[in-house]
Symmetry: C2
């Protein structure tokens, strides 16, 4: 691996090559680095700080929903993985196998967890006894391994970080309601913390999780019109419980199976954030999760009093925000580029003339709008500008989503639209997997979800087969 001597470098423009722009941003904003192992990346301090901010907000919301954190083993015995038939078929082809411990060959090989339903069920079979212990609402923050063929930073890695929540409940109704509650938490986090509009809906049979009765999803649209599945929540019924012999004595003292859910959001959501808000200068960070919310760049910092004032402002503003002061030898221009690349929401510039006038300049990352602010007004103006930026980047992403969504009803229209551009195509659908497959083959589109709140009015026909429709489906090209 050659050393890159440039610290702030040009990045490819989005129009020229969106995929290359994405990779450039990941590397040059120092979110990640490649490791020596294909498909495994390194989370650098800036990327990890972003993920920790995401974790902190989500974890607090989970705990408010009564969820407790636990930690399961990272390895799963092959025999344990195989107990649930659909699950093993879904995951066995893409797991990494541990076959030796030290110099000895293991009696049974162990896979590095690709997901942990099997481990949670094994534990519950051991500890669950009575309905009084239900619900058990558990979550773990960890990494999982899936041996993907093609990999991309954040979007598809052989190892990725996520949270996986697993719960068991006394009744099917309670479990179904909790599945949707977690989807709501995900959607609320995406919309109000990441400022990323999402569509909530249910996956079709062919797109649901291996072993689930129903999978729900939040789907976001990227700047280029492609879809990114940003979080999923699964309802399992009692299928896993039966396969793993998880039982409890119910209120009638009868042995029953609990009803189960699982739900996960991964570092993919960082990919979604990048491709929702970024521009040709680099990242644009939503303030709620930005590792640095405001960067102070002193101008003519060798002049008397400038660094003192900059340090004083840093101290003062750090009481309310995540603030960085860059007093390095690099030029102000270099610093402007650097923190634009890193997507810092606000830049505060202060030089000798500003200090004389008792003011500074605040620059918004998204539109580069400059505001001259009296120093004693910062505590009022900074939150206003952050709020304005939040609203603006949400509205911009929302406008992109709306402009790139079409409601179509014939295959001719669908194929033409899909060939012309990337975006969401909303159509009716008969519910047959063959027609779903035909959409893939003829129009290159995969079903993203059956969107909530749009399933009542399905008067019309499936564009593929012409049979009466049962659902409305959003189709797209997916990351």
């Amino acid at each position: 691996m050659a050393k890159d001597k440039k610290f702030v470098s040009e990045i490819t423009s989005r129009e020229e090559d969106f995929a290359q722009w994405f990779t450039d941003v990941c590397i040059k904003a120092e979110l990640i680095d490649y490791s020596s192992i294909k498909g495994f990346t390194i989370m650098r301090p800036y990327g990890q700080a972003l993920w920790e901010n995401i974790q902190k907000i989500m974890d607090a919301r989970f705990k408010a929903a009564g969820v407790e954190n636990v930690a399961m083993p990272m390895l799963i015995p092959e025999s344990l993985l195989q107990k649930e038939k659909d699950h093993v078929v879904g995951f066995a082809p893409e797991v990494a196998w541990v076959t030796h411990g030290g110099s000895e060959k293991l009696e049974e090989r162990l896979c590095v967890r690709p997901t942990s339903e099997t481990l949670f069920c094994d534990h519950w079979a051991h500890v669950l006894q009575t309905y009084r212990q239900l619900p058990m609402k558990y979550n773990q923050w960890c990494s999982v391994v899936r041996w993907e063929k093609t990999t991309r930073p954040f979007l598809r890695g052989r190892e990725f970080f996520w949270q996986e929540g697993h719960t068991i409940h006394e009744t099917a109704d309670e479990a179904r309601a909790f599945t949707l509650k977690m989807l709501d938490i995900y959607a609320d986090f995406a919309e109000n913390s990441l400022m990323m509009p999402v569509i909530k809906g249910q996956k079709t049979e062919s797109e649901k999780f291996a072993g689930a009765e129903a999978t729900y999803t939040i789907e976001a649209m990227m700047h280029d019109g492609k879809a990114l599945q940003s979080g999923t929540s699964h309802y399992f019924g009692d299928g896993f419980a039966r396969a793993y012999d998880v039982t409890f004595a119910d209120r009638n003292n009868t042995i029953s199976y609990p009803h189960q859910t699982s739900w996960g959001v991964s570092t993919r959501i960082i990919g979604a954030l990048i491709m929702s808000h970024g521009d040709d200068s680099g990242l644009v960070m939503p303030p709620a999760v930005a590792p640095v919310q405001l960067v102070i760049v002193p101008v003519a910092q060798h002049k008397e009093g400038v660094l003192e004032k900059a340090n004083e402002l840093k101290e003062r503003l750090s009481a309310n925000w995540r603030v960085k002061l860059d007093d390095s030898d690099n030029s102000p221009g270099w610093k402007f580029n650097q923190y634009e690349m890193k997507g810092v929401p606000l830049r505060l510039e202060i030089g000798p003339k500003d200090i004389e006038k008792g003011q500074c300049v605040l620059v918004r990352r998204d539109n580069r709008e400059k505001t001259f602010v009296s120093l004693d007004q910062l505590e009022t103006v900074v939150p206003q500008l952050l709020k304005e930026l939040e609203t603006a980047i949400y509205e911009k992403a929302k406008a992109n989503l709306e402009a790139r969504t079409e409601y179509l009803s014939t295959m001719e229209e669908i194929i033409a639209s899909s060939q012309a551009k990337d975006g969401f195509i909303s159509t009716l659908w008969c519910g047959d997997a063959e027609c779903e497959e035909a959409m893939k083959e003829q129009a290159g589109l995969s079903s993203r979800c059956m969107p909530f709140g749009q399933q009542d009015d399905v008067n019309g026909v499936c564009p593929v087969c012409g049979k009466p429709a049962k659902h409305r489906v959003i189709w797209g090209k997916a990351y």
Copy 2:
């Protein structure tokens, strides 16, 4: 695995069987559960909450020392592991090997990280260019795998959770100073958050980390007199940097190797906490890390007004402490046992008569001392009692450490003492590995450390060979 129908069960007494007492506490206080894979345990909600409290305090201290979190891959290619000769000899015999990804055999096998020096060096070789980037002070919270033959909860597992800090510095002096700074942070955390007295010192050559120039340690003594290594900090010199070709342009624009450190504390420290403070009723949690600091047990809770008042107190006290109200159907006596088992520092009992008098009862976990407290005085008395408990458990552990430490000078005394009881034995030592080995063979003692502040006065002879002493060493039997 059979289901244990009892929720609060008798635990083995410490005098009868300390090892069994330890296991009983781990399981029955619901810190962990065994998994289906030998040597891999499950962190249950109570154990994970404890670990998260530990993480939170330590992470804040690391960040105050300028450390940034990152995340490295969990797998290491065999060729990468092998670049540092001592390191591979130390770790290769005990790693788990991934040999297959999906259905394909890998070209090169990958080990699950037993520690990550090699990965950090590989990354630094890629990104480090100039002294301006130094120091780089990184840490990660993760789990590692070491294929141990014998395993015990928290003390020795095939997978365990820890933090591993890795830093590189411009100069050897700076790296050495940072190695000791992190050891100080560990010692301070152990003493002032876990209330566990520790001895700081340097490991002997034969006990140091594979590949290190020097290893420093904090050693704690358990209730039974055995030693538990509770945290280590290593100085590497530039050995790894040379092996992994990590270089930078120094202030004279000459290519130089940085000087490196690493330092780690694992979930072993939970084992240390249990065996330092626990008693025959179960855990005793230090307040700083206790998942629940105060538990409210209503008495005669069906009587009018009791649960209302208990809930009101819960709301009120939760502003300052981690509070649990147990309003379950279980009897107050069951609850008393349950939360003593779980080591909750303070119990608040409140019943109809207390409410009439405007008071409640606070019971300290460590000595079961009862205090009647006026309800309007809780905000004053609760922190006093927590503070008193902290001091008391520290002093008790300190007294145990002192009572079980002997300063001896002849092999006869040493062997007699070691056979009579477990504890620390402090002696002079010539510095030869053969004499260290003889202490193991003749007296069953391993060197714990060469304690700081006691290395000046080494006038005397080695008790094994009679040659002039060079060091003072603390010996013990270790977990």
